[in-house]
Symmetry: C2
Subunit: 479 residues, 2 copies
């Protein structure tokens, strides 16, 4: 293992994180709020060891699988731990568990909160809290690319789009180039949403907060009632549009920028994703019209926003969906497992994995009728290699296993089944709000510390697509 | 497709089913109860078309995959449909949906009931109801063998035990021979349990009822309070012992009969199964001691019986586990997915599949560290072929998919999440009782008809290990 490289990288990460706190520092200065010194101290606390670690000499610059996995896992862990410092120093949160949960929730773009009243927080803290979503979204995009060969699924498309002949020597510069393009898309989407929200009448500061929350598919808000606080159709539509866009594969957006307008329609994953949204919205709207006697307009408006928010794993709310009929709630719970598309900032299992699972199931059934037939699993025109199919099937099993085991643990803390299961589904899938005790109009503050730590770990494992974390925590890794 | 063969087989099945109603007929005669004529009519209604169909000439005696799958699916469907006739004619149940549900629940050894008060039923009907468990258990054993090459997992062990060199010509006689041995074990277990229950003070008729319920891992009782009605430690221990034994691979029992006493200990699946029972009993007992202030003895007694009943997918109850703390309930809910061992009369996903899933997950993680390593998945000393691994992984996905989709449908009928999810888990896994509205001290009577039909289908699909049914219902099958 190339330890020096990992240490140096962490040093650079700390420096970047200290730099990322500067906007909050200036906001505190501008608003003359009491979080000024906490941010100053936090920046110094991070930058000092950061510069020291960054001085470590790296003779060997080889980055293998091990280093990649270790860097990804350590970066998220260390960033989340250090990101909690401003919360603690400013007194916004008083225990490390709470602050770590909030920070991890931000960086993993989950959006689950332990702060009962966000409206009393100073601007600097609010900005930092939401800025972690923005940074986490950027990190996720790097992750998609950095782990290309290992996570396979998410990346094949990106990889193929960008690397015509994958000769080893050319991979690194291409990856850097692709990263730059992806970030360009990300920045463009961010700028566009801020401007549109401003035009729709949202104040500048709040526009930034909600833009970070939607492009990172995070979900932190500066309002206790989330997007529902504005009661504005225009704002809801804008947020909804950007959530849906950011739940799509960013490689397709690059395609659009190059004039390839058919990219969305030709992509089987996007079709499944949009199809699931359409069906879920229809079913929930029907359910609301019949069970709650809502008008058709109200029903479509609230179900469209909520479905978009949950499937993209954002977690913004305009309605207390925990009070919806069970049928609607179960659809939302199922969507928490589906999630967005691979190559997006969204979390959960992702549509492309379900596509592969469906197709391999169909193949399995066909094999019973034609035992000797060789049937490849295809996505569009591409053949999915069998090792990718196995990777996806194992992913699904591990996801359900972690879900079951964590639900059992959370229930041992005294939570009921629905609260326990939905709190795990909402954190493992990086969504945010769950149902019952952890519903959209409440928060995770009431959980015991060990529950908050476990759920923080679920956020991490969900964000890093399970394998990354499991590999690093496997005994063999350290031999 | 060899239609004549299928038709003739169904004829023979009807004749057998008519014959299987004879004991109930004689019981009705003996007790001079009003179900005498209903059984007489039922026997005639089944035997007449049975003999006609059995006369169909079969020129081609080839049984391929297609015929095997069609026969298995049709047999269970037709048997369950015809098995509902005595319930209807005797007036014990008044609608076809109810009677079909009860009959399917019997033949699939599920044990979910729509009869609120079983104690008022005549002896003949009670016997028939439980005898379907016994027949379903026998059928399951045949199924394990008949579908050997296709269902693979369950069977490899049996297959290897009995077929040293699998030359095609010798397979059929060997299968018949193995079937005979398995049935011998089944009959011995049945006889042993009846005698032991008699010795423990249970009346003869009730001993038969509860023996059928435990060796078939079904769960129908002639008491509304199930096994709890006896409040006898001896009876609980006997029933528990036979449930656990019948949740094990019957091939191992054959081994024991031949003096191979190490068979249980050497079998990785049995070790996992017994290990899960031990851990679950301990956790639930601890939970009861702390949360409910039960004595240690009470806690172990009720948790041991309940865990054995649920993991073996029997469904007998001595306690209303729906009132237990959430932690205990979630353990039971998870056990509903685990189920017994392959090659037993138990249902659900089964331990060997989880073993394979765990091992292939470990392999997947190892592959990230050593991308070029070729690592076979092993069960004991045997290498599990990759196609079996894929078969199992797909099985898991389909199981969860059917679970999710059915839960959604049941919730649309107005059931809450816990009732909906547990009613599907309990029928798909052939267990019987679920939680909340379908808990152990209540029943499925309150569900709307379409819910009963869907759950009956879940029982069928669970019993026939998903693939069998999906293959028959696939469009390609009928081309």
């Amino acid at each position: 293992m190339n330890r020096n490289l990992i240490i140096r990288t962490l040093g650079l990460v700390l420096i970047c994180e200290a730099g990322a706190m500067l906007p909050s520092f200036f906001l505190a200065l501008y608003y003359r709020e009491p979080d000024l010194l906490p941010f100053l101290y936090s920046i110094l606390l991070l930058a000092a060891p950061g510069f020291l670690l960054a001085l470590v000499r790296v003779k060997n610059k080889d980055v293998g699988y091990r280093e990649g996995f270790a860097i990804a896992t350590m970066t998220w862990l260390v960033t989340a731990a250090c990101g909690s410092i401003p919360f603690l120093l400013s007194g916004s949160l008083t225990t490390f568990c709470d602050a770590f949960f909030e920070s991890m929730s931000g960086f993993t773009t989950t959006g689950a909160s332990v702060i009962p009243d966000v409206e009393i927080l100073p601007h600097g803290i609010l900005f930092w809290r939401s800025f972690t979503h923005f940074l986490g979204g950027m990190g996720t995009i790097v992750l998609i690319l950095a782990l290309i060969p290992s996570l396979k699924v998410a990346a094949t498309q990106l990889y193929k789009a960008e690397v015509p002949g994958p000769t080893k020597s050319k991979v690194l510069p291409r990856i850097l180039q692709t990263t730059r393009q992806l970030w360009k898309v990300y920045m463009l989407l961010t700028a566009a949403e801020v401007i549109l929200l401003l035009l729709a009448g949202m104040p500048l500061f709040e526009s930034f907060i909600h833009t970070f929350g939607s492009v990172g598919t995070g979900g932190f808000s500066c309002k206790n009632a989330s997007i529902g606080a504005y009661n504005s159709l225009a704002i809801e539509c804008i947020v909804m549009f950007f959530m849906i866009i950011c739940g799509m594969n960013f490689a397709l957006h690059i395609g659009i920028m190059r004039g390839n307008f058919k990219a969305y329609l030709n992509d089987p994953e996007t079709r499944l994703y949009l199809g699931i949204i359409a069906i879920s919205v229809s079913l929930i709207a029907l359910n609301q019209v019949y069970a709650l006697n809502n008008t058709v307009e109200e029903a479509i408006r609230s179900s469209f926003f909520t479905v978009s928010s949950i499937i993209t794993t954002t977690g913004y709310a305009t309605a207390d969906f925990d009070r919806w009929p069970e049928f609607s709630k179960i659809i939302l719970l199922l969507l928490m497992f589906v999630g967005g598309c691979a190559g997006s900032t969204a979390g959960a299992i992702k549509n492309v994995r379900f596509l592969i699972l469906f197709k391999s199931a169909a193949r399995q059934i066909l094999k019973f009728l034609h035992p000797h037939a060789v049937v490849p699993v295809r996505l569009g025109r591409e053949v999915v290699p069998d090792e990718v199919v196995e990777n996806v099937q194992t992913f699904f099993f591990l996801y359900m296993l972690i879900f079951g085991a964590s639900t059992l643990y959370i229930s041992s803390l005294g939570l009921d089944l629905v609260s326990a299961a939905s709190s795990v589904a909402a954190t493992l899938g990086n969504i945010g709000p769950g149902l019952a005790l952890v519903g959209p109009m409440t928060n995770f503050a009431s959980l015991p510390d060990s529950g908050k730590l476990l759920l923080s770990f679920c956020m991490l494992i969900g964000r890093l697509e399970i394998y990354t974390v499991l590999v690093v925590f496997s005994a063999r890794f350290w031999r």
